[in-house]
Amino acid sequence: MKWSLYLISLLAGSSVLFYQSQLPNNPPTHFVLDKEWQQVSKSEPVFVFRNPDTTIEHQMQLLMNEDGLPLLYYADIQTPVCIDGLCKPVYVEMYWDLLGQYAGYGVYPDQLLTKYDHDLFEAKDHLTLHQLLLDQSSVLGRRKLTQLYDTKTSRTESIKFKGIEVDGISGATKKEIKASIVEGGLYSCYKLWHLAYGEATEKMRSQLSTIYSDTLADYFLSSRHKDYQFYAVKKLKPTDFLEKIAYIVPIVKVGKPLTRAYILKKMPKKLFQNSLVVNEWYQHFSDFDFNAKTLLVNNLQYSNSAAALFLSKQLTNLSKNQLKTFLVSVDKIQALEVVQENLTTFSKDANAPHNYLVKVFLKTHKGE
């Protein structure tokens, strides 16, 4: 049945199937978000997108929960994968998040994915494909299929050159490319990657600004999906930070390092005195990545003695430069009295490699 539909759509320019709402037919087998697909109760056809290098178009559906909150994008894809002039259909139900990033896929039980030699995809092959589709910056995006042929078969011996790897294609070694693609499934991988990140992505991205609402903003800010957090934070104006501080504080704790850095750079300086910020960030300073730590230390000068006290108990987690900045800030916010005892302890800690900096600091502040 699916095969005949495919033929019809191929021959008729595919318009017959469009602009009808459609829910997924099968649950996704590979998925990265929080099983949002389980909450889907309605859909809305939003746009069609082109299949690269063909005249075929696909219908994109916006999937929503019963309250109409957008959850996912979805397309039921039937595409020809052609090798040496011989084409065969591939059936995939593909999902994207609301940012237009690939989120997962499912297959029809009677139309499983196959490789070049008609062998079925094994579980590990599906995993490889899923990981590949998650990689937005895959080398597949920068190279023509013909430039990747040798990853399919025999030329991988040249990966090694006198015992070391060859940077065959700028930015990615052949070994990496080979590892990222299903062996014997290059053509399917290539086609699906370009479907996932082609015109569809651009259209989803531009559509997000039209469906973005206060409700969706709060949904994003409270989502566990880190890219949603980042998107929502980027939409905030600095003046919104105080109102949204209850969202922002946990995002810094669990978000991507990039999101943390963005927030710590953008947040109005006076908010570094906010008690939530002091208690949740400075108290748990050692849990953060290095770049976030630097930004927290750099912003101590805008915070208060309570934050300095928290930091002074965690000085072994500071790099030399961070420690220097910390000591300057202690002066700036006049927190010496509060932190002196901890500084003294640290200066005597034989296992603290930079304790000498604190020794010098205490020596120059003697009597204060």
């Binding site: 006198k162 015992g163 070391i164 060859v166 700028s170 390092p257 963005y262 750079k265 490699p353």
Partner: protein, 593 residues
């Protein structure tokens, strides 16, 4: 040849130096026989001196030694300026001893954090001819800046300014270099850009000084760093083919073949005075005109003052511009400053708020497989960096940048961090039986930097010059290679090692760099070529590769020849002689065809 004679003379004179006072200072880089220790001048501006380092990749290196004559026999207290390069709860990795006349001094050195004087012990010296040795104990990058002998047990100063003054006193160094040399053009930095600048100017008849702080030319493309050259030749194929590399794998020993070819080609120019192993340490300007560049030999300490009407800064770090007061930038501009967004990659490409998170530095390494199993020492001090990562091969993406570290000011810490990444990852890999035959054949100790200071010119080249396909009246450099900007992988996923990067590639049609990005906006006789040219962070993403920087160098060399011809400064070439300049460049390609 002349340089070599001079160098030999200095070595000979060192052998017979008389140390007659109650105290004397010996700079370790002056040691006549360096044994297996390497000379490291990379961090002079931060820690005060060239130093010797025992870069043995886990195998203790052979002793460095030197002979001195002392006038006053007797008891001496001995200090070494050194550091424990990875202080922590483990045995210091870079330990060494000092021996005087074969007698080892009491204390092991390399134990204190940060550069400082460590007390080695005391020794009775009964002979005039005295031999001093550095004995490496670990093979893991012990380092020694200088030795100080004193009969009165007075600890030398260590604070930066006081130490500098003290060194000058102890070495009886004059304020200014006694040797002064005059040229038509002084090029500082012998990477691809500096070499190309020297060639272009020399071909036009200028007498050129090329000052380079290493024994081989090529910078990042040299056999000491081993990055292959990328990019196109533009109008300068003939020149660049004299100095570029094959597309060997980064880190490959094939770099040595290109190295020999490059040095030989450069030495064929009679009117290029190559000053190998001279590191510039100052440049003075008066009324926005550079008067001279001072440089010091990294082993003998000999100093030379270089004078010329025009100077080229191809140091990479923009040192000549920095010293002479040229405007410069560092870090990532706000995306709004020049409109350099690539929406797809947002903050990773160009941030909303400016910051100092530039592209990082790399250290390449090479391994080989031996017929017999090879052991590698335990490296507990490396594991906090390497963590669980395993590797028997490196590549360009072994790259380190962090927002509390400055690529120049903290260069030594950055270099040491990547060494820990390499040694730790290799030690982890060696735990697997399949890697038992691997051994480290070569690990660079020189930082391959991508980005640091960028001097400001009349035009600041930006990513928008690429996206807008802007052509200039003074387009002298062209490139078709993708613009790629790197980010540290742990910015997206903090479970990733902090020393691995990823590249974002922006495919582009041909783009152009104008001549106005190759001379300083405010220092009137300063050209720049290489990664310190006038560009934004995102602008640097494309033209930082070495054939492109080589094009910059060649373009600058030809401009300098017209400056010489008309006795004018770089800006005037653009304002008054552009047609002639562009024709001169065009002629280069016609010659090739």
């Amino acid at each position: 040849m002349k340089s070599l004679t001079l160098f030999t003379f200095f070595l000979a004179s060192l052998c017979t130096s008389l140390y007659g006072q109650k105290d004397f200072l010996i700079e370790s880089e002056n040691f006549v026989n360096k044994g297996g220790w390497v000379t490291d001048p990379q961090f002079i501006q931060q820690m005060g001196s060239t130093y010797l380092m025992a870069h043995g990749m886990g195998v203790p290196v052979t002793n460095a030694s030197t002979q001195i004559k002392i006038k006053k026999k007797g008891n001496y207290h001995v200090w070494a300026r050194t550091k424990n390069w990875i202080p922590g709860n483990w045995e210091a990795p870079g330990q060494f001893n000092i021996a005087v006349n074969g007698e080892k001094l009491e204390n092991t050195l390399g134990l204190q954090p940060d550069w400082n004087w460590e007390y080695a012990g005391q020794i009775k010296i009964n002979t005039k001819e005295t031999t001093i040795e550095l004995i490496d104990l670990t093979g893991f990058n012990g380092r020694c800046d200088a030795l100080y002998f004193n009969q009165e047990k007075i600890v030398p100063p260590n604070e930066k300014v006081a130490l500098k003054k003290w060194r000058i006193e102890k070495s009886k160094e004059s304020l200014a270099p006694k040797i002064v040399k005059e040229y038509d053009l002084v090029v500082t930095g012998g990477g691809l850009a500096g070499c190309a600048a020297a060639i272009a100017a020399a071909e036009q008849g200028l007498k050129v000084a090329l000052i380079h702080d290493r024994p081989v030319l090529g910078g990042n493309a040299s056999s000491e760093i081993r990055v292959h050259t990328l990019g196109i030749y533009g109008k300068f194929e003939r020149i660049l083919k004299l100095i570029d590399t094959e597309h060997y794998p980064n880190g490959s020993s094939d770099a040595i073949i290109d190295q020999q070819r490059r040095d030989e080609n450069m030495q064929r120019f009679d009117n290029i005075d190559i000053h190998y192993n001279y590191r510039a340490y100052d440049a003075k300007s008066a009324k926005e005109v550079i008067q001279y560049v001072d440089a010091r030999h990294t082993s003998t300490g000999e100093r030379i003052r270089f004078k010329a009407p025009q100077f080229v800064d191809s140091t990479g770090d923009g040192w000549i511009g920095y010293w002479s007061g040229a405007k410069y930038s560092y870090g990532r501009e706000s995306v709004h400053q020049y409109g350099e967004a690539w929406e797809k990659w947002g903050e990773l490409w160009s941030p909303e708020e400016p910051d100092n998170l530039v592209m990082g530095s790399s250290i390449l390494f090479q391994t080989i497989e031996d017929p017999m199993p090879v052991l590698f020492p335990e490296v507990p001090w490396a594991l906090p960096v390497a963590k669980e990562h395993k590797a028997v091969a490196g590549e360009w993406y072994w790259e380190f940048s962090r927002n509390d570290l400055h690529q120049i000011d903290d260069g030594e810490e950055i270099r040491d961090h990547v060494l820990r990444a390499i040694f730790g990852s290799f030690a982890n890999a060696k735990q697997d039986a399949e890697n038992q035959f691997y051994k480290l054949q070569w690990v660079s100790y020189l930082l391959g930097k991508r980005e640091s200071r960028r001097l400001v010119g009349d035009h600041i080249f930006t990513f928008t010059d690429v996206t807008d396909k802007r052509k200039f009246r003074d387009s002298v450099v062209q490139e078709i290679r993708e613009v790629d900007i790197h980010y540290q992988q742990n910015l997206l996923d903090d479970s990733k090692p902090d020393f691995l990067s990823k590249a974002l590639f922006y495919p582009t049609e041909k783009y152009y760099i104008p001549y106005r990005s190759l001379y300083s906006k405010n220092i009137n006789n300063l050209f720049m070529a290489g990664r310190c040219f006038s560009t934004s962070h995102a602008g640097l993403g494309g033209p930082r590769v070495m054939r492109t920087t080589g094009q910059m160098g060649a373009a600058v060399g030809f401009a300098a020849s017209l400056c010489h011809k008309y006795k004018v400064n770089p800006r005037t070439i653009y304002e008054k002689y552009l047609a002639e300049y562009m024709q001169l460049i065009e002629n280069q390609q016609q010659e090739e065809n």
